[in-house]
Symmetry: C2
Subunit: 582 residues, 2 copies
């Protein structure tokens, strides 16, 4: 037996007990006649004690020679500490060691195993097994476990069945790029790894499974942006015989349950917002509503004056920055530089200072009088002491730019409080979105999403106007889930695929099995999928998903710890009947 | 709202309630003035009722026109049935329908959606979504969910943390063949899909995670034998600061918990058997101990007589078949033919009839007298009325042959009762096994398994004798789990890899990250992995894992429903910098 207790559990009530502990040496404090060792395991730290009075010379030497991260087992007696440490749960006691055995040595770790380490990200990734010893990382993984257990318990209690769908499936080049897996037994043929279990969960609905969920890895071979992973985890859900309202209620219930059990936060009904309103008021389909700073559209009051920039813009729009009038001219110039960065892309920014005396001062005073500017303030909701920032230009672009500015300012103003939770349903997404590269419409959600009743006819003459039975769940400015009511009849699915550019043959080859299934009694159905990595990060009060993944990949899709991907040998290639191109 | 109740819940207490149901038409019984429809969903069947007295003509016609598997929604009143059906929970009532809407039509399914269907396996696989509508398949999937929930709850309560390990890892051509995944972003390089998360769970132990589990898909590109799947699910577990005994106790606890909560069976301590004894007594490392028929080795009593076949055999071994003396000569001849089938491979079989009067009659009476035969009976434990079957030859082969015969006879005799559960630990497996193809020793479990203390020195002169800290959990003649105490220091791991034929360079390239990790304070650790598919099948009283997998592949590794694997287009190959060989 390696231990009778772990390193987080001994208390004053254990004094005089004989115990055995195992763990890692956090630190050795050698005071000559006395040696203190902090012994650490997953559960905490317990102080070990040696002194020349009660410990043999050999034992003292053993203790003195221990290095950081050595693995040891000790047996001894719990005694009261002379000077107690109220900062740790075991701070009242220490263990007077009688026997010590070295279970394993350790080289000096390349970074400190402390809450605030001196290791850079790349180094910590390379030695991830050491990084995981650090309390914050370890706690994130335990936190992840707790959240997934709560998800499973809640859904299971609500009669959902977790069904495992296959990982070796078929490549469907719609949507993102697939990772493919060459088949040795069927040469020249490939499996694909699922981007999501979408078609399988729909088939489960056709199969009568009614309420399905799965916590499942999904794969997308995308050029990686920051904080995207080629493999990621979804809470994938589907229900049959439901309308949109049933799905929203069910998964609002799940999210409420998580906020309550994990974060101790009680939230009643989640607010709902139409997609069009989200874009108009926040320039974004996943607005962070923990704070205000809603957009005010200024076209009516700012155009048709002498200011050409605004007159030629499709949209003139501003936000009020609370207390922003305290910014110096230099700080405002820096803000202007910030919106002009290529990542944001604005051409410039007009601003309006709202002085405490009710007067206004703008960067375009030449063109606008105090009455004009008062209207700007009114529309953006600016109060005395605020600053109004105004951008103009193409509607889509300027909304995105102002949204980026809104988030940046909120961050700077401390308005994005990690322990405050503001969920929001965004509803009635467009069915289609225009893709600049391929110059055609793509499914905004996916090709299985149904249109709002009666709107499919709009496809012919105003495709952008068609709204879908699609919804996102947003939490603190992040999309944590998205779903839709699906098409469940073959004819509509065929129309949709045709519209998306599939020939009849392609549609049959790729989705024939689903369309066939729709002919054998498919029930109305719909669902949702949550991005588990992000959900967990946000519930954990953070935003970097990598911190909540045990073994993440870097931005080139590499695992730098195991060094993958890597070349394979020629025999393997031969067996697969494959050749690398020159 | 599509339904107020599901089809399994209405009872006599609901009479006179107005309800809405949705589901599939199981059957329509048209009696002219009255129409009965069985409406089915995941939860059960409710009878719908229409009659000319209370239903409009249009509604009667609607009901009469319904076909099998049509999807309908009905609203009506719960009424008492004239003739009750005690065989189903809803048998006291029916719903007098007021409104019926057809949610979706259905083509006639290619096989009947009944507990005993007329569909063959291949057809049912092709239309798996219809097969899942059948109660036995649906129940298997729900059963699987229940088992996995119990596993998760038990392990979570015992402080295990479920940690997701990556799916895109590195190819290590030791063991079975990897499925590989070409990387587009790192051309010429490949990920591999995990055969198991073995190295990652060991790294989690190095990382201090202490008690890990994961229910996880694993992948092996093997030539498929019957009832093997290229992707399968493991309950993967690892613990640090443990000895073998701790692991056995922990996972015996888990298995006991499952048998109790899932099957209602209470089993106290699991018996344990040494590998060598299992081989000697059952010819098999996963003996089914629900019944006896232990091997009796007959060399001492059957050799050195005139019977050359036995005299030249390495092993002469028999089993007593309870009541087998009632077999006719013809039946015994058929048994002999059975053991001579190439799948079994025996050259012949000697038998001994134990008559009720205490006399013996054997097929080799020419060489053995009654005293000789009495010894055979004694050693095999045969009683009056039994039949002793004796095989001889090479020890390894003859044990496998007699084991096959033992299982076949037990099956025929009804001794393998699906609702009886006999778990067994098999312990002290050999560290290595000889591989005929490559003519060298391979790791029997895997290269990370530790040898019994002090035995590593045997490697040089008697490698086959080295025993490992390795154990299997056997249930009803199936290996449901296997594990070991791992090597946790770099030097031993290096010796092991060298012995297994890895050059220093290969060892470093493939397992360098693990050996590096061992240098930074690796704790003693070990673990186990359960084959979830098989565990669930056995707990479900069955042996075919395919019946417990939602979307299984066939024996050629194909998903015949979605038709995968399949060719991918040239653009995809180009992006991956790959070419098919001619």
């Amino acid at each position: 037996m390696y231990r009778s207790h772990h390193c987080g559990e001994l208390r004053a009530t254990n004094i005089n007990t004989q115990v055995t502990l195992s763990g890692w040496v956090q630190i050795v404090r050698d005071k000559g006649f006395m040696v203190y060792v902090d012994l650490r395991d997953r559960y905490g730290i317990t102080q070990l004690y040696f002194d020349t009075e009660r410990s043999s010379e050999a034992l003292m030497q053993q203790a003195q020679k221990l290095g950081r991260e050595f693995v040891v087992q000790v047996t001894g007696t719990v005694i009261e500490r002379a000077s107690k440490n109220p900062n740790i749960p075991t701070g009242d006691i220490e263990v007077l060691v009688k026997e010590l055995s070295l279970l394993n040595k350790a080289k000096t770790p390349p970074f400190t195993i402390e809450d605030h380490t001196d290791g850079g990200e790349e180094l910590r990734m390379q030695y991830r097994y050491l990084d995981i010893r650090r309390t914050p990382v370890k706690n994130n993984l335990i936190f992840r476990h707790k959240v997934t257990q709560e998800v499973r318990n809640y859904l299971s209690k609500n009669e959902f069945v977790e069904v495992e769908t296959p990982y070796l499936i078929k490549s469907t080049p719609e949507g993102a790029r697939d990772f493919v897996v060459p088949s040795r037994m069927n040469q020249g043929q490939f499996y694909a790894l699922p981007q999501s279990p979408q078609t399988f969960k729909q088939l489960l609905m056709v199969g009568g499974m009614d309420k399905y969920f799965q916590i499942v890895k999904c794969f997308r071979d995308e050029d990686l942006r920051a904080d995207r992973q080629p493999e990621f985890t979804q809470i994938d859900c589907e229900m049959a015989f439901v309308e949109q309202e049933d799905i929203l209620n069910t998964f609002e219930g799940l999210t409420r349950h998580l906020l309550k059990t994990i974060n101790g936060v009680e939230i009643k009904e989640f607010p709902r917002m139409l997609y069009d309103d989200a874009m108009r008021l926040y320039g974004n389909d996943k607005p962070d509503i923990r704070f205000g700073m809603k957009f005010g559209e200024l076209n009516q009051v700012a155009q048709h004056k002498e200011f050409k920039v605004f007159n030629t813009a499709e949209l003139v729009v501003g936000i009020a920055v609370p207390g922003g009038n305290r910014y110096t001219r230099k700080e405002i110039d820096q803000l202007i530089e910030w919106v002009k960065r290529p990542q944001v892309g604005a051409l410039g920014m007009v601003y309006l200072r709202c002085h405490d005396d009710g007067r206004f001062k703008s960067s375009v005073d030449k063109f606008y009088d105090q009455d004009d500017l008062a209207k700007w303030a009114k529309i953006t909701g600016a109060k005395a002491g605020d600053l109004v920032c105004v951008l103009s230009g193409d509607k889509h672009k300027v909304r995105a730019q102002l949204s980026a500015l809104r988030m940046e300012l909120a961050e700077r103003l401390g308005l994005r409080k990690p322990n405050e939770f503001a969920p929001l349903w965004v509803m009635d997404f467009p069915l289609l979105e225009w893709d600049e590269d391929t110059e055609r419409y793509h499914a905004m959600h996916h090709p299985f999403t149904s249109a709002k009743p009666g709107q499919l006819e709009l496809l012919a003459h105003n495709p952008a106007a068609v709204k879908a039975n699609a919804y996102d769940l947003v939490l603190n400015g992040n999309e944590i889930g998205g779903g839709s009511i699906r098409i469940h009849d073959k004819e509509t699915q065929a129309i949709m695929l045709k519209y998306l550019g599939f020939s009849e043959q392609e549609a049959k080859a790729q989705f024939g099995f689903l369309m066939d299934a729709f002919e054998y009694g498919a029930p109305p159905h719909g669902g949702i999928a949550f991005g588990l990595d992000r959900l967990i990060a946000i519930l954990g009060g953070q935003e970097t998903i990598r911190d909540f993944i045990a073994f993440p990949k870097n931005n080139s899709g590499r695992d730098v710890m195991i060094n993958a991907p890597s070349p394979i040998n020629n025999a393997q290639l031969d067996e697969l009947n494959l050749k690398l191109k020159a």
